[in-house]
Symmetry: C2
Subunit: 231 residues, 2 copies
Amino acid sequence: MPPQSPDPVAIIGASGALGFGLALRLARTGVPVAIGSRDAARAGETAERAAALVPGGSFSGHHNAAAAAAAQTVILSVPFRNQAETLADLREALTPGKLLIDATVPLAAAVAGKATRMLGVWQGSAAQQAQEMAGEGVRVVSALHTVSAASLADLAHPLAQDVLVCGDSRADKREAAALIDRIEGLRCVDCGRLEMARTTEAMTALLISINARYKVHAGVGLTGLPAELWR
Amino acid sequence: MPPQSPDPVAIIGASGALGFGLALRLARTGVPVAIGSRDAARAGETAERAAALVPGGSFSGHHNAAAAAAAQTVILSVPFRNQAETLADLREALTPGKLLIDATVPLAAAVAGKATRMLGVWQGSAAQQAQEMAGEGVRVVSALHTVSAASLADLAHPLAQDVLVCGDSRADKREAAALIDRIEGLRCVDCGRLEMARTTEAMTALLISINARYKVHAGVGLTGLPAELWR
């Protein structure tokens, strides 16, 4: 028998830089990727572009809602200004039990402010807003904010950084981590409850500040952690 | 001629865990340390305790204000609930031109909340509150929040982590970094303006959450940075 092929993953906003990089990296590990965009034609183009970069990768292009309907795990990777609208569009497709990995960062750039500054989100963080907006039973985990989109999309670039994972259910976080840890060079770290996303999201703005200063794509690495992080 | 001995540094709140660890580590590099406490007798005891751990180290114990008066560089390492009161006490001693390195973290624990949660500080961060309260001409830099007090104080423990430095003057940050970088295993990273302390302070609460989960003393390390950080 062939090894069981992994379940497909939907990436909402996969035409954007972070979503596209994630699509490439996940597909390289054998995960079929349903690419979502607000514009189905653009999703199709993105899927073609991804397939050219990852021969053998499985990509399909869809309108966001159709992409989310096609997978049990949905990664939300849209600009903050589109997060609420996108989640409203996904309400039917995000059925109870699905895993929603929110990677949204409420940068002040969303309202023409600086990318080194954050907006105050009433719920505390974009992840908590996602949890409020997603339907009952959708399992929300926050992750992937601090991973550089440019580094992800550059497949020749070896990754070596931590992914900060927040969520109220350890089982859900473990499931998200098992997916993300397929990508070589990424290591998921359990950062606690979903509310900790207030800080992990803000670390994106901090990295943008550091990147501007040093002209690099910095990543987060934590020291002093045990070898086994998801027992 | 003997090599010039480094200038003394005052550590306000050096009887606390972080301040004490910093006192030990800095003294080991030859920096004379003026240990400040709200209670001069306690400062003297702390100086004796430090001298026993770092033979050859130069320690003196003072009331906070006298410690701050004795050095051009002052590290503020007090619980958030004491920050404003302490800065008011230091107003005379913190003369224009002095460098104030603020390591205060506004954990919700200050008001009997969780140590994984932050208080909202009106100015945006404890560092910005320090800047508002310190007299005109005091140069404020924010640093050292994410360094584990336990790891610092355990002199047998090799350090390997980054120190996130924020401030509005690059020259001031460079000066603070030159001091902190004397400690083997610490690497200072310029994180941008003082307002970025909103996030670097919050990362302490994030590390507390991670530490509780994994029973470790995690530290921050950034990846992808150039070798020379303070040109």
